[in-house]
C-alpha cells in the first residue's frame, strides 16, 4: 500500500513514531558516542595521572637500583583493579621490575616503545618516562584493562535499547490518544460528506469540534452546503417556473395549431368551392353564350352588310366569341387544378413540333422563325405540356413588333443547383428548358406578376388576350413538380426558363 493511500490515522501514527524513534535514536547514539569517548578519555587521563605519580615515586628505586622498592611502588596498583600489568624499564630499556610479580616476562614489551599511550581492542598501554629532575632514569609501562569500559558501554547499550523501547511504547500510546483528536473530526466530516452525497440531503450540517484548521474546514464545508442548498432551491424553483412556462407555451401553440387547422380546413373548403364554382359557372355560362353566338350568326347572315345593324350584330358575335375563349381558358385552368391525370412518357420535342404545325399559319403570317435544340423526354401529361408550349409560343408571336425569332434549347442540371427553390429535390436531375424570343419584353420588376391569373401588362386593344395564359403555364409546370422563371428587358425580348424533373430513377 502506498503511503498516500494510508488512512490519516496511520499516517499520523507513523509520522509521530518515526519522528520520535529517529530523535531518540540520534540522541542515544550521541549519548553513547559521547560516553564512549569521554570514558575512554577519562580512563586515559586517570591512568596518565597514576602513571605520573608512580613514575615520580620510582625515580630513587631506579637510580639506586632497588628492584624491591620498585616492586613495592608498583604494588600500589592493587588499588587499581583495571591495571593488569605494570613494569619499570631502566635507562637501557631492560625490564627492571614488574607487577604482578607472578606475571611472565613475555607479557611485557621487550623494550619500551615511544612515550604516550595507545589503545588495543581490550587494553590501554601507557608509557611514562621516569625522570629525576631532567635526568632520564627509565620508563614506566602500564597495561590497563578496558573491560570496565566495555562493561559500562554494554550496560549503556542495554539501558539505551530499553529506553528506546519504553519511549517508543510511550510514544505509541500517546500518539494513539493524540492522533484521535486530529483524525476523528476529519473522519466525522468525511462521513457527513458521504451521507450528503449519497442521500442528496443538503440540509445536513457537519458538527464543529474546535477552532483549529479542521474547525475552519467544517465551517467552510457547512457554508458550502448552505450555498448548495440555496442554489438547489433556486434551481428547483427556476425549473418549476420554466416547466410552467413551457406548459403554457405548449398549450398556446396547441391552441394556435388547432385554430390553424380549422382555418386551413376552411380555406381548403373555400378553395375547392371556388374551383367548383368556377367550373360550374364557366360550364353553365357556355350554354347561353352558344345560343347568343348561334343566333347572332344567323341574324348576321340574314342582314345586308351595309346595314348598320349588321355591324352591331357582328360586334355582339365578336364579344361572344371572346367570352367563349375566356370561359374555355378558365375551364382549362380549373381542370388542370382539379384533375390529377396519369403521367406518361412525353417527348417535349415532338410536342413542340406538333404545335409548330398547329401554328403554321400564324408563323407564316408573322414571318416567324422557331429554332429547336435537343429537347428532353419527361414523365408527364402530354396535353398539359402541349398547352404550356402553345401558350408560350402564342405569347411570343403575339408580343412582337418585328419578325419573331424563338430559340428553344435544353440541358440537364442537378437538383442541388436549384437550392433556391425550397421544394427542389437535391438528388433529382432536372431538364432546364430555355425558351427565348426577341419580342417587346418587359421590365424585370414585373417578372413575378406575369404568372398571376388575369394579370395584364399591356392594353387589350394592342395585345388581345385573356390574362390566363402564363398563369396556366405556371400551373402546368407546378403540376409536374417543376419551376418556371422569367428574365426580360423591355424591347429586348423575354426568356422563360423551365425546370422539369426527369424522374430518371422511375424509368
Amino acid at each position: 500500500m502506498r503511503l498516500q493511500d494510508l488512512p490519516i490515522q496511520q499516517k499520523l501514527m507513523r509520522t509521530i513514531l518515526l519522528t520520535c524513534g529517529l530523535v531518540l535514536l540520534l540522541v542515544c547514539i550521541a549519548f553513547y558516542t559521547y560516553e564512549f569517548f569521554t570514558f575512554r578519555d577519562s580512563i586515559r587521563q586517570q591512568t596518565r595521572s597514576i602513571a605520573r605519580v608512580v613514575a615520580a615515586n620510582s625515580t630513587a628505586a631506579l637510580a639506586f637500583e632497588s628492584p624491591n622498592d620498585a616492586f613495592e611502588i608498583l604494588s600500589a596498583f592493587k588499588a587499581e583493579p583495571h591495571v593488569v600489568a605494570a613494569g619499570l624499564y631502566d635507562a637501557n630499556g631492560n625490564l627492571f621490575a614488574k607487577y604482578p610479580d607472578s606475571l611472565p616476562v613475555s607479557v611485557f614489551p621487550p623494550k619500551p616503545t615511544e612515550n604516550g599511550y595507545y589503545f588495543t581492542s581490550d587494553y590501554l598501554n601507557t608509557f611514562q618516562p621516569v625522570m629525576q629532575k631532567k635526568d632520564f632514569l627509565g620508563v614506566l609501562y602500564i597495561k590497563s584493562d578496558l573491560k570496565a569500559l566495555n562493561e559500562r558501554l554494554l550496560l549503556y547499550s542495554g539501558i539505551t535499547i530499553l529506553f528506546i523501547l519504553l519511549s517508543f511504547l510511550l510514544a505509541y500510546a500517546l500518539s494513539k490518544i493524540l492522533q484521535a483528536s486530529i483524525s476523528n473530526p476529519i473522519l466525522k466530516l468525511s462521513k457527513t460528506a458521504s451521507i450528503i452525497s449519497n442521500e442528496h440531503d443538503y440540509t445536513v450540517r457537519a458538527i464543529k469540534h474546535g477552532d483549529d484548521e479542521i474547525g475552519l474546514l467544517t465551517d467552510a464545508f457547512n457554508h458550502m452546503l448552505s450555498q448548495i442548498e440555496t442554489q438547489n432551491n433556486q434551481i428547483t424553483s427556476f425549473n418549476h417556473q420554466l416547466e410552467e412556462k413551457v406548459r403554457q407555451r405548449t398549450m398556446q401553440l396547441e391552441n394556435a395549431n388547432t385554430e390553424l387547422a380549422v382555418v386551413n380546413e376552411k380555406l381548403l373548403k373555400s378553395n375547392k368551392d371556388l374551383e367548383q364554382f368556377a367550373y360550374i359557372a364557366s360550364h353553365d355560362l357556355q350554354e347561353p353564350l352558344r345560343k347568343i353566338l348561334t343566333f347572332s350568326g344567323l341574324v348576321e347572315k340574314g342582314l345586308p352588310v351595309d346595314d348598320s345593324t349588321h355591324d352591331y350584330i357582328h360586334r355582339i358575335k365578336q364579344s361572344a366569341e371572346r367570352m367563349t375563349a375566356l370561359i374555355q381558358s378558365v375551364l382549362n385552368y380549373s381542370r388542370i387544378s382539379r384533375v390529377e391525370e396519369e403521367k406518361e412518357r412525353v417527348d417535349i420535342e415532338e410536342v413542340v413540333r406538333s404545335i409548330l404545325i398547329d401554328l403554321e399559319l400564324s408563323l407564316a403570317e408573322k414571318k416567324g422563325v422557331v429554332n429547336i435544340g435537343k429537347l428532353p423526354v419527361i414523365q408527364g401529361n402530354k396535353l398539359q405540356m402541349a398547352q404550356l408550349f402553345f401558350n408560350l409560343l402564342s405569347n411570343s408571336l403575339k408580343f412582337s413588333d418585328k419578325e419573331p425569332v424563338v430559340n428553344i434549347t435544353s440541358e440537364i442540371v442537378n437538383g442541388q443547383q436549384l437550392a433556391y427553390y425550397p421544394t427542389a429535390v437535391k438528388d433529382e436531375k432536372y431538364a432546364r428548358i430555355s425558351f427565348s424570343d426577341n419580342g417587346i419584353g418587359f421590365d424585370q420588376e414585373y417578372a413575378a406578376k406575369v404568372f398571376s391569373i388575369f394579370q395584364r401588362l399591356h392594353n387589350k386593344q394592342q395585345y388581345p388576350g385573356t390574362g390566363i395564359g402564363l398563369a396556366l403555364c405556371k400551373k402546368v409546370v407546378e403540376n409536374h413538380d417543376g419551376f418556371i422563371e422569367v428574365k426580360s428587358r423591355e424591347g429586348e425580348g423575354t426568356t422563360f426558363i423551365i425546370y422539369l424533373p426527369l424522374h430518371s430513377s422511375a424509368d
Binding site: A60, A61, A63, E65, D69, Q132, K134, D135
Partner: protein, 183 residues
C-alpha cells in the same frame, strides 16, 4: 642523555676489553656503581643556596683518600647538570685539604681519621658518604653497604638533620635507615 648513552657504551667497552685499559680507568664494578650512585645523590639532595657562590656555580663532589674510582666518576658526571648546575669532582688526599664541596666521599683508608673528618664538616652542609663500617656510627650521613653482593644505601637521618641539607623522601624510601642508639 646522549652523553649518558655514550658513557654506557664506554662502560660496555671497558667491561668487554679489560686488558687494553689501565687499572686507573677501569675500577672494580663495585666502584662504578658507587660512582653512579654518587652522581644520583646530587639529584636527590637539596643544598642551601648559600653553599653556592652564584646561581650557576657547580656542585662539587669531593673525594677524600686514595680514590678508588680512577677517572670513572669524572666520566659519569661530565656533561650532567642538576638544577642548571654542572658537576665537578675534586680530590683531597688529607683531611686538612678539604675545601668547599657539596658531597664528600670518604675512602676506606681514612678509617682512623673518620671522627676528625666528620666533626670538621659536621655543620657545613656537606653530604658525607663513605664505605667504612663505622661511618654512620661516627656521624656520617650515607654509607654504601654490601649485602648479598648488592650495594645498599644506608642513611642516617639524624646526621642529616644537624645540617641544612634536605634529602628527598624518595631516596629515604629506597635506603636503609640507620638509627643511632642515642636517638
Amino acid at each position: 642523555m646522549v652523553s649518558r648513552l655514550m658513557l654506557l657504551l664506554l662502560l660496555a667497552a671497558v667491561l668487554l676489553q679489560p686488558h687494553t685499559l689501565s687499572a686507573q680507568t677501569a675500577p672494580a664494578k663495585e666502584f662504578q656503581i658507587k660512582a653512579v650512585f654518587l652522581f644520583h645523590f646530587t639529584q636527590f639532595t637539596q643544598w642551601p643556596a648559600t653553599t653556592f657562590a652564584d646561581a650557576n656555580a657547580p656542585i662539587v663532589i669531593g673525594i677524600l683518600g686514595d680514590n678508588p674510582f680512577g677517572a670513572f666518576l669524572e666520566k659519569v658526571v661530565s656533561g650532567e647538570t642538576v638544577n642548571g648546575r654542572s658537576i665537578i669532582v675534586t680530590r683531597f688526599t688529607q683531611p686538612d685539604q678539604i675545601k668547599t664541596c657539596h658531597v664528600l666521599y670518604v675512602c676506606r683508608n681514612m678509617h682512623d681519621k673518620l671522627s676528625e673528618i666528620l666533626s670538621a664538616v659536621e655543620k657545613k652542609s656537606i653530604l658525607t658518604v663513605g664505605d667504612d663500617d663505622d661511618f654512620l656510627k661516627k656521624g656520617g650521613m650515607i654509607r654504601f653497604a654490601l649485602k648479598n653482593d648488592k650495594i645498599k644505601v644506608q642513611i642516617c637521618p639524624a646526621a642529616v638533620k644537624k645540617t641544612d641539607l634536605i634529602i628527598s623522601a624518595k631516596l629515604l624510601a629506597v635506603a636503609e635507615i640507620y638509627k643511632t642508639e642515642t636517638n
